[in-house]
């Protein structure tokens, strides 16, 4: 290797998704040097960017599993963290709808299961109540189960907040580094991670590589679990569909998964999905004809009125489905290596709890010295990109202070020049258009760049400097309205 990171970190975390970022943040609270390594050009560019973004209560998890516990604790921890950092969350609640007698019969069991999972607020409802809550639901619903605390959250801001927090606590973010192999230096208890561009050395390695978790695990000599990428495709409908539904509409879960839901999104749209299809290619986040027609078929039944609206976005995410039936989190004190694997379809919710759990295991092992820092920086305050909360373009006081927040660049999503500019001075600036989109929503709207695409591209190139509306903001309004 030509290039070598000269220092040896105490801990290297592989994977800057929600799980890895949460772990790096947690461990950076100790007197440790941490590297957060990811193959991509940005944090949160794997499964954590493309999910259904629901903050789960865990009511339907398998009782007694680690996953059930992590989701339950994660719900509480992430809710608190969201409040502290400004991650947008809407407590919409969910209604699980039964469409046939078999599903009606399954509801009491689901209620019991929720209680076993420590969640006792579900209620079984008759059809009339279901339609009162969801007036645009398709015909044929027979009954439902309400889950009042299921919520929607911004998965992008969650990942970015955790990673930003980690970086502000001193974590070194090493992007663009695909870990392809390891070398061990047993004498000094160091593992060298071979990446495409250099070598990252650390005393401890934490594998939070999501879809790549089993491959990394094999580098450490294990054969504990195998990941199958399970693709989930989604359709996002125009904001004008949002009045149709203000709760998450869930199906009765089956052995195959959570099924297709209809849900408001934190950005003010409505989503329909996901599909569940096992693939072999771990990078295939493309969309498919069959996926689209399957979803439209489901949508036709769940909420036919939704299909009359325009589709703003389509995307696909890959769940790290595993042949091990639960989360798989284990510490190897010999190799100073931690596996955080099989975090399947609930990792957005559980990420912070998983970090706490890993911390507990490490403490318990006694194999690493964990001394709390005294000089801990404050948690970051994240820019709001949630539709339900005050956005800069609506904020008269903020625009008065800085006219850049009054210059809307992306008309559909109402993203201002000020917000775009700010991302480039943030602790983790965007390097790609997608990175900018996840931080601001620019170009995510109904026109997909017809109007703003060229402007946004230029702002990315100039790191937000090409528009300085301060200059254009003359005193145009000071003349009385009748002047000709």
């Amino acid at each position: 290797m030509s290039n070598t990171q000269t220092r040896t970190y105490d801990v290297a975390v592989i994977g800057a998704g929600i799980v890895g970022s949460a772990i790096a943040r947690k461990l950076a609270g100790y007197q440790l040097s941490i590297a957060l390594v990811d193959a991509r050009d940005d944090v949160g560019d794997g499964t954590s960017k493309a999910n259904t973004a629901i903050l789960h209560t865990g009511f339907d998890a398998k009782p007694g599993t680690l996953e059930s516990r992590m989701v339950r604790e994660g719900y509480r921890l992430l809710s608190e963290y969201a409040k502290a950092t400004g991650i947008p969350v809407e407590h919409t609640g969910a209604v699980l709808v039964a469409w046939d007698q078999e599903q009606v019969n399954a509801l009491p069991g689901l209620k019991d299961k929720a209680e076993e999972n420590g969640y006792d607020k579900t209620e079984i409802m008759d059809a009339a109540e279901v339609y009162r809550l969801l007036p645009h639901l398709g015909k044929g619903a027979l009954a439902g189960l309400s889950v009042p605390d299921e919520s929607i959250i911004c998965t992008w801001t969650t990942n970015l907040a955790l990673a930003t927090d980690a970086v502000q606590r001193g974590t070194e973010l090493l992007l663009g580094r695909w870990v392809s192999g390891i070398e061990t230096d047993k004498a000094n208890r160091i593992t060298h991670l071979k990446t495409g561009i250099d070598r990252v050395s650390a005393h401890w390695v934490i594998n939070a590589a999501g879809l790549g978790g089993d491959t990394i695990d094999q580098l450490f000599g294990y054969d504990r679990f195998h990941i199958t990428p399970r693709r989930g495709e989604l359709l996002v409908y125009d904001k004008q569909a949002r009045p149709l539904v203000d709760k998450i509409v869930l199906p009765v879960p089956t052995a195959l998964g959570k099924g297709v839901l209809v849900s408001p999104t934190i950005y003010g749209n409505v989503m329909l999905g996901p599909t569940a299809e096992d693939l072999t290619d771990r990078t295939d986040t493309g969309t498919s004809e069959s996926g689209f027609s399957f979803l439209r078929g489901k949508g036709e039944k769940i909420m036919p009125r939704l299909l009359e609206e325009e589709i703003t976005a389509t995307y696909a995410g890959l769940r790290a489905a595993s042949d091990y039936p639960d989360y798989l989190i284990e510490v190897d004190t010999e190799q100073q290596y931690v596996l955080v694997g099989g975090i399947r379809s609930t990792g957005l919710t559980s990420g912070i709890a998983v970090a706490e759990y890993v911390d507990g295991l490490l403490k318990h092992s006694g194999a690493i010295k964990l001394v709390e820092r005294v000089d801990m920086p404050e948690a970051p305050h994240m820019p709001n990109i949630g539709e339900a909360f005050l956005r800069p373009y609506q904020d008269a006081a903020r625009i008065a202070k800085d006219p850049a927040y009054g210059k809307i660049v992306c008309f559909c999503e109402r993203v201002t020049a000020g917000e775009i500019r700010d991302t480039f001075t943030s602790p983790i600036p965007p390097r790609t258009l997608d990175g900018l989109r996840r931080r601001t929503r620019a170009q995510n709207g109904r026109c997909q760049g017809f109007f703003c695409g060229a402007e946004v591209a230029e702002l990315l190139e100039t790191r937000g400097q090409s528009l300085t509306p301060a200059n254009t903001a003359a005193t145009r309004l000071s003349t009385p309205g009748t002047a000709k």
Binding site: A396, P403, G406, I408, E455, S478, K484
Partner: protein, 428 residues
């Protein structure tokens, strides 16, 4: 007092409420022309709000000849045309505020606006919606495949090339073969990107013969008819598209690094919908009467927001026509008599205006505007009322998909104003 080097001098925020007599939302050809006509005739202010940094609408970045034929009697490029419309509106005394986005309604004829000077409310006596139309992007067309870069609408392409002087790839497939598709081909040629194929789902290219004959030759471009794009292949950069012959189901891939999605218009109707204005199910445009009134008193609609899409001159002439109707409204005149609806029948998709009254004036340019799904070379237009044919008219121009089909409004003279809804279709 000045601060040390800070550029962000707080702007003057007075008044935070503007009170023009007429508010025109959108400074494209239709809005600017309406402003130029109204400003000298309206006692108070005529205010145009435009969200872009320059007024002019689509022609600003449509840098090729083809503008100004019907409204100015000449033939010029888009940017020049936009400049003339801007100058005329300003000379006439209208006020144009750019970088000003109307975000939502604050009252019946009152809106909230975001601009660098602040968050402002505008209260007007009359609001004219001139918000234009856009092309549907890949997502709305549900084209599956990889998320490779290199997929654009014509609007984005022309913004990149003509406003930002940027470039795209080297080999393009253009989806669509209507007027705007040839506009895209011209822009691609300008940046030396070869158009390897144009596709259309129709059995023949939809643009004027002017383009499809000599155009084909000029651009050396093949047009695949009855063809749809079924998949985009390649990431991070597009490498090919998969296309299907709709009749045979046969598929093949065409190598390209650029895909331009043209046509498939949808009006920017969000403000209209938010106001509860009736929307046409097919065109998704606000429903208007011949005086360009929506069903909300004092709210008018003009241009491509109304007929997605027609040429800029026709949009501008809507702007000229609406002036009389706005003045009439300001002087207290309201629609009178029973309103009957005009419905489009296959092969027509929509018709504007779609609300008719005996006392209403003629529509702009004395034309009904329609959109057809099939090509009919010698159409005979038929009006039905109560199951009976009430009028028929042979026209000397074809009805062609991908562009507006115009029918003289004189055909309406046969309507029985007591007999309910009218449909417009073709004799078979």
């Amino acid at each position: 007092m000045t601060t040390n080097g800070s550029t962000a001098t707080p702007p003057v925020l007075t008044p935070a409420v503007l009170t023009p007599t007429v508010l025109i939302i959108g400074g494209g050809p239709s809005g600017l022309r309406a402003a130029a006509e109204l400003a000298p005739r309206v006692p108070g202010e005529v205010l145009v709000l435009e969200r872009e940094s320059t007024a002019g609408g689509i022609p600003r970045h449509s840098d090729h000849p083809g503008y100004g034929i019907r409204d100015m009697g000449t033939f010029m490029g888009g940017p020049k045309y936009a400049g003339i419309l801007r100058d005329r509106a300003l000379k006439a005394g209208a006020r144009i505020l750019t970088n000003a986005t109307v975000t939502d309604w604050a009252g019946d004829r009152s809106v909230n606006v975001t601009m660098p000077e602040g968050r402002v409310r505008v209260d007007a006596d009359v609001v004219v919606l001139a918000t234009g139309a856009r092309e549907r992007p890949r997502t709305a067309r549900l084209i599956p495949g990889d998320r490779g870069q290199g997929v654009y609408t014509t609007g984005q392409l022309q913004n990149i090339v003509h406003l930002k002087h940027g470039t795209v790839g080297k080999r393009a497939v253009i989806v669509g073969a209507e007027l705007v598709s040839w506009s895209a081909a011209m822009t691609l040629q300008h940046v030396k990107c070869k158009t390897v194929l144009m596709t259309t789902e129709y059995p023949k290219p939809d643009a004027y013969r002017l383009f499809s004959g000599p155009g084909k030759f000029f651009f050396k471009t093949r047009v695949s008819t009855r063809t749809r794009v079924t998949r985009i292949i390649g990431k991070p950069q597009v490498q090919a598209v998969e296309i299907e012959n709709i009749d045979t189901g046969q598929r093949r891939t065409v190598a390209c690094d650029t895909v331009i999605l043209t046509g498939d218009w949808i009006p920017d109707h969000e403000l209209a919908r938010a106001a509860g204005i009736d929307i046409d199910a097919a065109s998704k445009a606000p429903v208007v009467d011949a005086a360009l009134r929506t069903n909300r008193p004092g709210i008018f609609a003009i241009g491509n927001a109304l007929h997605p899409v027609d040429t800029a001159d026709v949009a501008a002439l809507d702007g000229a026509a609406v002036a009389d109707h706005v003045i009439a409204h300001l002087s207290g005149r309201r629609p009178s008599g029973t309103a009957i609806s005009l419905k489009a029948e296959a092969p027509f998709r929509w018709v504007a205006p779609a609300i008719l009254r005996q006392d209403d004036p003629a529509p702009p340019r004395r034309r009904l505007l329609l959109w057809t799904d099939t090509y009919v070379p010698f159409p005979t237009v038929v009006l039905h009322q109560n199951g009976r044919v009430i009028a028929r008219k042979r026209l000397w121009w074809p009805a062609a998909p991908g562009r507006v089909f115009r029918v003289p409004s004189s055909i309406l003279q046969h309507i029985n104003w007591e007999a309910g809804p009218v449909t417009i279709g073709l004799a078979n």
